[in-house]
Point group: C3
Chain length 311, copies 3
């Protein structure tokens, strides 16, 4: 024991014990490279938002003839950020078919391919802004929607991350959507395929699973889940069936509205177009187009509060 | 094609395509000035918190005879931050009656008027701290409540943003409450009018709409919604009725308690004073004072799990 | 009135009024020292995460023979951060039995004692990563789980904060779990005692109260609450019974699964081992081991939407 600094002895002993725990548990990243850092991926998310709404998040307005030049510089910078994140992610991916451990040229190719989806993503996110304006009586102007509505941030990030997911990039797409989840309370897996003009009001508690497919002009309120009914389906070897090979989340056709707290479950469940699902409803099977589904008039027990009865 | 750097060619081409998409969609901020930046508004929110709880968020304690001097300096700094944010917001507001595109002197006047509401806001937030202490058995000391309870941050920001809303400042109030929403999971529109001694336990998933009015000494638990029943009411021209002109969210009288996951809907719905609304209840019409409203004893289906039945 | 700068006069007047409001309300921290700052506690949380997953959050990989040395340096730095936070917290704690206003040597002792729990915490969090992999078909690799799953961050912070709570450190443990709550939407009180191999899917809206005890191999989905049934129990003097002296949150035995939106209430409620609680169920009494509890088949009212009926 070190008579001068007994704390140092305890710390050194503790370091050895903790190192042994990590060695047993495999919780050290001892690959040859770092993993993408959350701070850098958060910065990448902000960069994607700035590309999708020039002049809204940059702190300066952008005038007509400056737009293409600004975008060219911003895209070039985005390509550098994205290429680095893809390279770091690629060393760790294990999804069958993933682009594993890409060299610089493969990572650059994937980064440029993802960026080339931005015009299509931008056009989709524009329809989401319009859908928010059309569906929310609290919305007075589009600037407020773009600057502050959680659904716009969540959808902008998810729609871009979905392209990375389709390109087979591991780790990074989910890191991006979880950053959006942390900021907005809206949890959309990057695997979900979402049509144009999607509006999520309030948003906190919304969950959309990996294998959901959502049509055009759908509206969700807070706390709605599109989730798995029996998630732990196993193959003939007893292994969990993972990813897109296990269609376990429901589909919505066009023009479906789902009110707060409703839960739709199961990979074979399809909510037909122009249907309305009421609040708190629990749906485990398909619903024909044009349906209105509500819980039976809830039987409430209403009685006077007794004197001194606590709340 | 650039033989030296083919990526550059693709990026330049992409920039042109993306610029065209933005031109079509109107998603460039091409006004003469920048919009308020989220980072600056987050800083403004932190500044408001520090004014409401001197010495709690500043990293230094404040002794009795220093308080007024410290507040004077902090208010002067706050006036600068707020005036800048109001000017940037004002260029973009389109709400009927909004203070549009204010010059420096008008923006300063609005900023000072909002700051002059701070003593009243501080007195209200003090009652919220007391309400948390009175209602939460996990609360042992007021310092923990002020430093870490999500409801205190959400209410402090909303009560100040509500004054900006009443002054007709566009964009900024909602940006402030959405920053609080992102940090706390509690979504209170700046339009809501909230009485003294309000407590929200846990908080994640709570939604309070723009036209709600809440009395004194109310308590909400996590996941409670005070929301619109039929949000898309239209005027005789088929236009959505927006803002306060469409009273669409419910009112709570004094001493109302609402348990987790309950939803109260509709602009004519009034929950009478001293009423208690049970968890998960769905209420679409008014309730007399002193009522206890619960779902009928839920019929549960309880059976033994079959051998090997999956979870 | 100052003819040169009338705003300054109003600000000075306002500072005096606001100072008087704070003096009345006791909302100035006028103790002799600062309180722990949220920014520093957030930094401490990040430091704990880095100690629990070396090389995952640090931006560099760590190779086998470097691990113990890196951990020794990181633990020494953590001891400094933690000791400072404990000293600042200790000046403000008022929980009966709390270590109040510790001197430097007592704070160092508490900090080292908490750090010495890290190997056990690390071993528990490793089981949480394995549980996520075993229970989530969307999980393809452990790196994504460690880097981005909200439950891992929430559990890592809560499991460490729980040790500080057991050591009687005031304020700090709750500040840490509220930082995790803000980032993840998962609200676990530092008092809750949680067994190995715990998985929370999605997570937003989950609440676990101070006096809950959870066994091994339990799984919760989003929006599940383990909460108080009658929180405001009072002692013979009419005082609220606070903290662990008021067992008010339920217990889960081993291998319990609870689906989205279910709420379990009350300090005497025990969910027996190997039970499954269905979504949205509201449980106020104990359930025998091996039970399956669901709401009776919900009676849905399904009808065709009328022509032109609004959503």
């Amino acid at each position: 024991m070190n008579p001068v600094n007994p704390t140092k002895d305890r710390i050194d002993q503790l370091a050895a014990t903790l190192a042994a725990t990590h060695a047993r548990g495999g919780t050290v990243n001892d690959h040859t490279t770092a993993l993408p850092s959350r701070r850098e991926i958060a910065h990448l998310c902000d960069h994607v938002l700035a590309l999708l709404f020039p002049g809204y998040f940059s702190g300066t307005a952008v005038h007509g003839n400056e737009v293409a030049g600004l975008l060219a510089r911003s895209l070039a910078e985005g390509e550098v950020l994205l290429q680095a994140a893809i390279r770091l992610s690629g060393h760790f991916g294990t999804r069958p078919g993933d682009a594993a451990a890409p060299g610089a040229s493969k990572a650059r190719e994937l980064a440029v391919a993802a960026l080339e989806a931005l015009p299509e993503v931008a056009a989709l996110v524009q329809t989401d802004v319009d859908a928010a304006f059309a569906n929310d009586p609290a919305a007075i102007d589009r600037a407020t929607i773009i600057l502050s509505y959680p659904c716009i941030e969540a959808l902008a990030i998810q729609r871009f991350a979905h392209r990375l997911y389709l390109l087979g990039v591991p780790i990074l797409p989910r890191m991006m959507t979880e950053i959006a989840h942390s900021r907005t309370g809206i949890d959309i897996h990057p695997g979900a395929a979402i049509g144009a003009s999607f509006f999520i009001d309030h948003g906190t508690g919304v969950v959309i699973g990996e294998t959901s497919r959502i049509g055009r002009n759908c509206v969700l309120y807070q706390g709605v889940g599109l989730v798995a009914w029996n998630p732990l389906e196993r193959d003939e070897h007893g292994e969990l069936r993972r990813g897109q090979s296990n269609k376990r989340h429901p589909d919505l056709e066009d023009h479906v509205t789902i009110y707060a707290g409703a839960t739709i479950l199961g990979g074979d469940t399809v909510i037909g177009h122009h249907s309305v699902i009421g609040g708190n409803v629990w749906v485990t099977r398909s619903v024909a187009p044009g349906s209105v589904v509500r819980n039976k008039e809830p039987e409430l027990d209403i009685r006077p509060r007794r004197r001194q009865e606590p709340a």
